[in-house]
């Protein structure tokens, strides 16, 4: 089923009593959907400008450190790369969101687990810089 149908068929489950995890699940869901939507809009803008300027088939990789400067300079490929970067960062931001929610609930065990995952993701990003 489509995302919209799925959101209709799987509404946020009403709870008989307030749950400390409600905030966790709500915010992680929001981060995922909004991160994806923002990245798609940015990628589309970059793609359209690239096509209009005849750069759509430019088989050029952009270094991670150059994405933001090129996007700021309104380079179409830089804008498309920024959209890709936002999408690639979305799962990491969801993990960070989980860490903050667990910390807020004083669930330090899982906050530390999330921190461990973030460290590995950060290591991966550092290798790319």
């Amino acid at each position: 089923m489509s995302i919209s149908e799925a959101h209709d068929n799987f509404p946020e489950r009403p709870l008989a009593s307030p749950s400390k995890d409600s905030i966790l699940y709500r915010w992680v869901s929001r981060v995922l959907i909004y991160g994806m939507m923002i990245s798609f809009v940015v990628m589309l803008v970059g793609m359209i400008f690239s096509a209009l300027l005849g750069k759509a088939n430019a088989n050029v990789a952009i270094a991670l450190s150059a994405v933001i400067p090129r996007a700021a300079a309104l380079d179409p490929l830089g804008i498309a790369a920024l959209g890709v970067l936002v999408l690639a960062l979305t799962p990491g931001i969801s993990v960070l969101t989980s860490l903050l929610c667990f910390a807020r609930e004083r669930d330090l065990r899982y906050a530390l687990v999330c921190l461990g995952v973030l460290v590995i993701l950060a290591l991966s990003i550092t290798l790319a810089l």
Binding site: F10, L77, S98, R109, Y110, V113, S124
Partner: protein, 287 residues
Amino acid sequence: MALSFLFSLMGIGFVAGLFGSMLGLGGGIFVVPFLTTVLGVEIHQAIGTSLIGVIATSSAGASVYVKARLTNIRLAMVLETTTTVGAVIGGMVATALSADILSGLFAALLVYAAYSMGIRRQRESPGAMAQDGGAAVGTQEIALSSLAESYFDKSAKRTVSYQVRSIPAGLGASTIAGALSGLLGVGGGLVNVPLMSLIMGIPIRAATATSNYMVGITAAASAFIYYAHGHVVPSLVAPTVIGVFVGAQTGSRVAQRLNPTIIRRIFAIVLFVVAIQMITKALNVNL
């Protein structure tokens, strides 16, 4: 020329997402062979593209499952501690391997996927326990493990509660899933879902939902390794990912109208044929 290339990528992505969604496999397993065999994209770039596509479909699906509390976020985080390590290692190994070797490895994965679709059927975990919504009996015992969870099954109109077992085995297998994802650009769901449902005692719906969330994080871990080696090309990734997303949304609607058994058997044959093509290409054999 530029527009036709862009539309070709979106079309490839659409078909990959469509097939993947109809088969519950995700687009990754189709994106790589389609990009390499149809458009001649270099396999490392195809894998980098596929990983970003996995993040897109994961984010879309997981946003729904997380909201519905089908996803076990705690379990996902625990397993991701080893999955992401495997993914980073897999990505580093892949970027050091030649295109021919990677093609051969991917072909082997396609054969396994074809076998899984054509023959094996997923079984519901015996560890799932049904509980009437609101009933208090047994909740204290179920709640002892911090990874225990429950979700409301809308179709069955009941709360399904479960405990998680075999954590060490789960962590070990998750490392393999992560390595597979980083090495070949697939989501890892081929390993995650059977692992969670058959070994860890998680009901299939929760296992699928949790795996769906995990594969995005796993793909992100190795995607940056591919970034570092210049294998994430925006002009390839952006149109393909958008095509995959639209295809996946379409596939989820189309699949409901088709016989699932027939679909799986047809695509098992398709995957097998594509696997043969990749193997012959890797071995430089002309058939």
